[in-house]
């Protein structure tokens, strides 16, 4: 009797006994049924009730004019989506999200990669990749902001950007620039200020990710490139970067997903979407539309639009990186 099943191929090799778990012994005992009901059924029940069904319902709601008060809801087809086409705030929010979707991944990943490069191949130019002295300390410090909750980072940076008594204006004062700028209240600076907070939050995470990836690059490859006379910059950009491409594309995707959300940062740092909606994003507008205006149908439609864009972005990143592989 084979006891607990193998960790073999997912496909059931034993075609003769499709209904039987592989380690089941000869038949499905009551104990085994209870085991499966508990071990598989319980987690799946939670998952279906609290994750799968809300997503399915959201898509349905987006085609109705539901306002939450009663069971009254009319199917209005694409009505919500058509309304979004004419909603100026939604346009503003979506445009901000799209800008963030480009800016955030590019800044965070370039900076993360640059720092990872300095830590790893900043050391000796001979032999295998040998990190810079104190590499570990830099890594540990850089990663720390990642473990701080986003809300706390939002509040922290709201302090830093405060017009009077804030750290930024204080620092500017030290170098002789007396400024009383309310960085988050000024539409010219607000979005950039939010972006900087996110960069501060996330760079260390990607730096650590890239450090590990660079360390996994075979040392012969580095050695060969060095023999060919490649300097550190060329080594980083032309040799290492293509090898860790998979990591970069995953990182791009996740930063993109984060940029298309941004609810926490915006809601905490610029409540209401900022002065003249300069930092409005779809997720925050969705929240307002649903829970302050009770327009659940339209809010769901926004969610669907954003989800579709997220999906398209993820696919696009994959396609672009694949293409480079062929070239």
């Amino acid at each position: 009797m084979t006891a607990v099943p193998t960790s073999g191929a997912p496909a059931d090799a034993r075609a003769g006994a499709p209904r039987r778990p592989r380690g089941a012994g000869r038949r499905l005992t009551p104990g085994r049924v209870l085991f499966f009901a508990l071990f598989l059924g319980l987690p799946l029940l939670v998952y279906v009730v609290f994750v799968v069904s809300p997503f399915a319902q959201a898509i349905y709601y987006s085609f109705t004019d539901w306002r939450g008060v009663s069971s009254h809801q009319e199917f209005i087809g694409l009505g919500n989506y058509r309304a979004l086409l004419e909603d100026r705030t939604f346009h503003l929010a979506l445009r901000n999200n799209l800008v963030l979707m480009i800016v955030l991944p590019v800044v965070v990943i370039s900076l993360g990669f640059a720092l990872a490069t300095l830590v790893t191949i900043g050391g000796s130019s001979r032999g295998e990749i040998r990190g810079i002295r104190g590499a570990n300390i830099y890594r540990v410090i850089s990663f720390f902001p990642y473990v701080i909750p986003s809300v706390v980072i939002g509040i922290l940076f709201a302090f830093i950007y405060a017009p009077g008594g804030g750290l930024l204006n204080g620092l500017l004062g030290l170098v002789g620039i007396e400024s009383q700028i309310a960085w988050l209240g000024d539409p010219r600076f607000a979005m950039a200020a939010v972006v900087l907070a996110v960069v501060w939050n996330m760079v260390g995470f990607y730096m650590v990710l890239f450090v590990a990836a660079i360390k996994a690059v075979p040392s012969e490859v580095i050695e060969a490139a060095r023999l060919d006379g490649a300097g550190r910059l060329r080594l980083a950009v032309q040799v290492v970067l293509p090898i860790i491409k998979d990591n970069v594309s995953t990182a791009m995707t996740y930063m993109g997903i984060m940029a298309l959300d941004m609810f926490v940062f915006i809601n905490v740092m610029t409540p209401g979407g900022g002065t003249s909606k300069s930092t409005e994003v779809v997720a925050r507008y969705l929240y307002e539309t649903a829970f302050q205006k009770s327009d659940f149908g339209r809010a769901s439609a926004m969610g669907v639009v954003l989800a579709v864009i997220t999906l398209m972005m993820a696919i696009l990143v994959q396609v672009v990186t694949r293409k480079k592989e062929d070239a």
């Binding site: 607990v4 960790s7 059931d12 592989r22 380690g23 104990g31 085991f35 508990l38 071990f39 598989l40 319980l42 987690p43 939670v46 609290f50 994750v51 809300p54 997503f55 959201a58 720092l115 300095l118 830590v119 050391g123 295998e128 810079i132 002295r133 590499a135 830099y138 410090i141 850089s142 990642y146 701080i148 909750p149 809300v151 509040i155 922290l156 302090f159 830093i160 009077g164 008594g165 750290l167 501060w200 995470f205 650590v208 590990a212 990836a213 360390k215 996994a216 860790i244 998979d246 990591n247 990182a251 996740y254 997903i257 905490v268 969705l286 929240y287 649903a290 829970f291 989800a307 997220t310």
Partner: protein, 315 residues
């Protein structure tokens, strides 16, 4: 954004790479002694520049935190007067005020209950589910696995409106139970995804030996498999802890009872009312109270965290 999608950048191999073994190259400090004498000048210049850049970045990371901690000991006037001055008197009472008057203590307790409960539950359910999916074959197994893992990509904000009404219909709005169940559900895909890979790697012989000894399915899991999976469980638990501790949208929408606010919610609420009260020092003290526990957890588990996001996405 799914509950733990910040952590999603890690890949299937992370858990397996975390069984405590140290990569010999993991501590790449210092040149080897034999080469020390012959370091070319260009190397030293480059190392100098690198250190310069890295030190600047480290300062950018550390300064705001240091500033917050120091400011939390000043009074509000002192903070506004000069952001750089050290406190003239150290106002420890800021912390007492934050803890009791501002209610940080209560929020802290709520967070511990909700995050702790959700963490235990999601690790248990996730391990059970991953174990069955990884070590038994039955029809529909792949479909269930992919349906679960697909949850990693679902954006949370799309689900939040219906989730509100689902909890309302179950009378779970503003309750610990409702919040914990939602946390568990949204952390489940990440947990199953990682533990699946982990249970897969456990050797078959163990389970066979257990069966020969007459251990049933339940005993095999709880007394043999689960202890063996402990290293993987620890690293997944750390990332789940960070993800859940970081949650904001779920509690803001579903946790409507002010007495049950979690830290993130309570802090954001205090911040929103700052305009009227301007208790800067209390606010700084609250932020410090929130950061310190994570700092301690981070220092203790620093190696697991660094490794956890380490070899991850590389195939």
């Amino acid at each position: 954004m799914s509950a733990v999608s910040r952590d999603g950048a890690t890949g299937p191999r992370a858990a397996s790479d975390l069984r405590g073994e140290q990569d010999p190259r993991a501590v790449p400090e210092g040149p080897s002694p034999s080469r020390g004498a012959t370091v070319p000048a260009s190397d030293r210049i480059f190392a100098g520049v690198s250190h310069g850049v890295l030190v600047i970045w480290a300062l950018i990371v550390v300064l705001p935190l240091l500033w917050t901690v120091i400011s939390s000991f000043k009074d509000s006037l002192g903070i506004l007067a000069d952001p750089f001055a050290l406190p003239t008197t150290w106002h420890v009472e800021n912390f007492a005020r934050a803890w009791t008057t501002a209610g940080i203590g209560g929020y802290f307790l709520n967070t511990v209950i909700v995050v702790g409960g959700a963490l235990v539950l999601v690790m248990l359910l996730g391990a059970m589910c991953a174990y069955v999916l990884a070590r038994f074959s039955f029809p529909g197994r792949s479909i269930i696995y992919f349906a679960l893992v697909a949850g990693l990509t679902f954006p949370l904000f799309l689900a939040i409106v219906p989730l509100f009404f689902i909890l309302q219909s179950m009378s779970l709005l503003g309750t610990y139970t409702g919040l914990i169940l939602s946390y568990v559900a949204f952390a489940l895909p990440f947990t199953v995804f990682f533990l699946f890979a982990f249970f897969r790697q456990l050797p078959d012989e163990i389970g066979e030996a257990a069966a020969i000894d007459g251990a049933g399915d339940f005993r095999t899991f709880f007394q043999i498999m689960l202890p063996m999976a402990k290293p993987g469980m620890v690293s997944v638990a750390i990332f789940n802890f960070l993800g859940l501790w970081n949650q904001y949208l779920i509690p803001v929408v579903l946790n409507t009872d002010k007495d049950k606010y979690v830290l993130a919610q309570g802090l954001a609420n205090m911040q929103a009312q700052q305009g009227y009260q301007t208790d800067w020092s209390g606010m700084f003290a609250s932020v410090t109270i929130t950061i310190i526990p994570v700092l301690i957890v981070y220092v203790i588990f620093q190696r697991q965290l660094q490794g956890g996001v380490g070899p991850s996405t590389s195939k």
